[in-house]
Symmetry: C2
Subunit: 426 residues, 2 copies
Amino acid sequence: MNALNVAEYMHTLGLQARQASARMASASAAEKSSALRALAALLRANVASLQSDNAKDIERATAAGLTAPMVDRLKLTPKIIETLAVGCEQLATMPDIIGEVIGMKQQPSGIRVGQMRVPLGVFGMIFESRPNVTIEAASLSIKSGNACILRGGSEAIESNKALARLVQQALADAGLPSEAVQLVQTTDREAVGHLIAMPESVDVIIPRGGKGLIERISREAKVPVIKHLDGNCHTYVDDPCDLALAVRVTDNAKTQKYSPCNASEGLLVARGVARAFLPQIGAVFAAKGVEMRCDAEAGAILREVADANVQEATEQDWSEEYLAPIISVKVVAGIDEAIAHINRYSSHHTDAILTRDHVHAQRFLREVDSASVMVNTSTRFADGFEYGLGAEIGISTDKFHARGPVGLEGLTSLKWIVLGNGEVRT
Amino acid sequence: MNALNVAEYMHTLGLQARQASARMASASAAEKSSALRALAALLRANVASLQSDNAKDIERATAAGLTAPMVDRLKLTPKIIETLAVGCEQLATMPDIIGEVIGMKQQPSGIRVGQMRVPLGVFGMIFESRPNVTIEAASLSIKSGNACILRGGSEAIESNKALARLVQQALADAGLPSEAVQLVQTTDREAVGHLIAMPESVDVIIPRGGKGLIERISREAKVPVIKHLDGNCHTYVDDPCDLALAVRVTDNAKTQKYSPCNASEGLLVARGVARAFLPQIGAVFAAKGVEMRCDAEAGAILREVADANVQEATEQDWSEEYLAPIISVKVVAGIDEAIAHINRYSSHHTDAILTRDHVHAQRFLREVDSASVMVNTSTRFADGFEYGLGAEIGISTDKFHARGPVGLEGLTSLKWIVLGNGEVRT
């Protein structure tokens, strides 16, 4: 496509999405569930053909010399397809939040005023490599009564096209407009530029991918963006605390998995418990090969631990999201210094205090300016499913509209509804 | 100031606001109320000096040849100052919503998960002429635990400076940081450009003023904007309806005041009641000198009304926000055409149906995509105070974050709080 054609093509997708969104907004819960169940059935019935389309992407990626982990992320195995089908069925059985009415109260004038939950309208999702995001985004869009325009990575284009065909068939089978979910069929880079700058057709953009991509999109978007930047999460071991609990939870927050955004990257320890706590957690980290980047005080204690890999922390370490077996460690005077350090260096994603002190717990909850603040548990719990949201659009590191794990509600807005009996304003 | 100095000055204001916002976020309800009461007392104690500073603005405006209504809007009369003081006292007595915890529920893992309402942080408000906005914005900012940077119109700079001094004194008297409310002291136009592009110090921008100003700010802002564009509101008279109610409510929606954004600019009438309804409302409009811009069918009926000012509507009339004694009138087949017309031409601000039909009422509420949708009452009720919000930041015509009348909640976000007993993720 040339530049003019891309602009026109994206404009057409936008118009079609906007039109489809009106029908989706008034679709019944039964219609949406029926589309989701049809999609699950179609996924299961088309495992072979999906794999053959997926093979084209794999082949091209391998030929282009992509690394093994990158090629791996492209793969649509029968197991992954089954997981996607189960996900659609689970969404189908979840309660429908559209049309929910809250807070209806009579006002002095006599009118009754409340709010009704309605879809946002149209969202655009921009993602890289993994083709399963096509189904995840499509199913969340259907369940929330929105329309969406999906832009996947060029390396997965054949897989994404095949998956999008199934989504559109499922919508049609349920009597819903197939344009409610549209995949951008061109891999032209300019398409993204248009998608993020059509406020008349797209209400919000949800990017998923590397920090560079997300920062660029946020900078250039002409519509709101629900975004996740980075997760520099902290665990603060307070004085007083339950030492056994602190060791178990800190270990989990750092080592249960190194790659997730909610793993702890920084450990703060109150001076009063440092001598008792640090050797214990140091031994755990040493056994698991976790490198500790320490301030002078923590380093002095941890260097006494057998086999500990202790390095001197630089200023940069306090802001770092390692996503690796590395943790920064610092001894602080107490709760004040811990809160100040976290509010300065944290990415405002998730931070936890491990404490027995009620006042400290309350202050931490109130004063730490992060999307999730926790007491006596692992930062690894910051997750839409663990929070009981039933589905997760993403984790927002912004404060506006949606903060932290975003469920289906993040794709909705509340409009005001007013019921009267002929009242007039005087 | 030269350009470099303006940039540096705004950057300093931003840093100071960000610092003050942390203290404001943890301020107690009592401290915030004390600041608001101190401000009310200071306003009352300084009526004379406020008027003398205000006189400088009035004099300059008059000399510059501003129109009488524009000069009027600049005036700080003793009555206006008293109203501002009473407003501060009312806010002081309102419940404090900061720290509120909602939805705390235990999850299968054992952790309890809920949400806590916290301030957004720092907002920037950009407004024109009326200096009372300085006090309204400052008091809402204090009550909601935010910090703010206020940029008023250059024509009111002396009045704004005098008011801002009182606000800062009130904050200091209550033991809160005076930088929690800062007025931009330079009238340099570049200051606005910086204010809307400092995501590190300003979380949201709230512009108040003409549509041109608001559109420009929305286009150029690098942070979210809570904005109000226009109010092309509709009243739809359905078949069947209570005719007496319909006449009373339609009259109120159009003529109670012509200038507010929630006045009805468009009247849609179901064909089945047009012959009965239009002559009655036509007589009311004729008596009040309201011009009717009609489609052919409505025009044919209304031209029979004595003294009626009936004009032919153009396509442009359906989108017009008159803010004047003019209304567009169209006969529609029924509920379907009414909803389609509104969703096409409305500014998505406020639209009402007047009906006896339950199914039509439910469909209107669900399908009309506007910030406020009403049944059997006047669009003029779309207002934060009438909705029981106790205070109004503004009326948002967006769907994201805040929609329709925005109360103090619009200046807050919900963060997740998680309480555990040593749970770890497996």
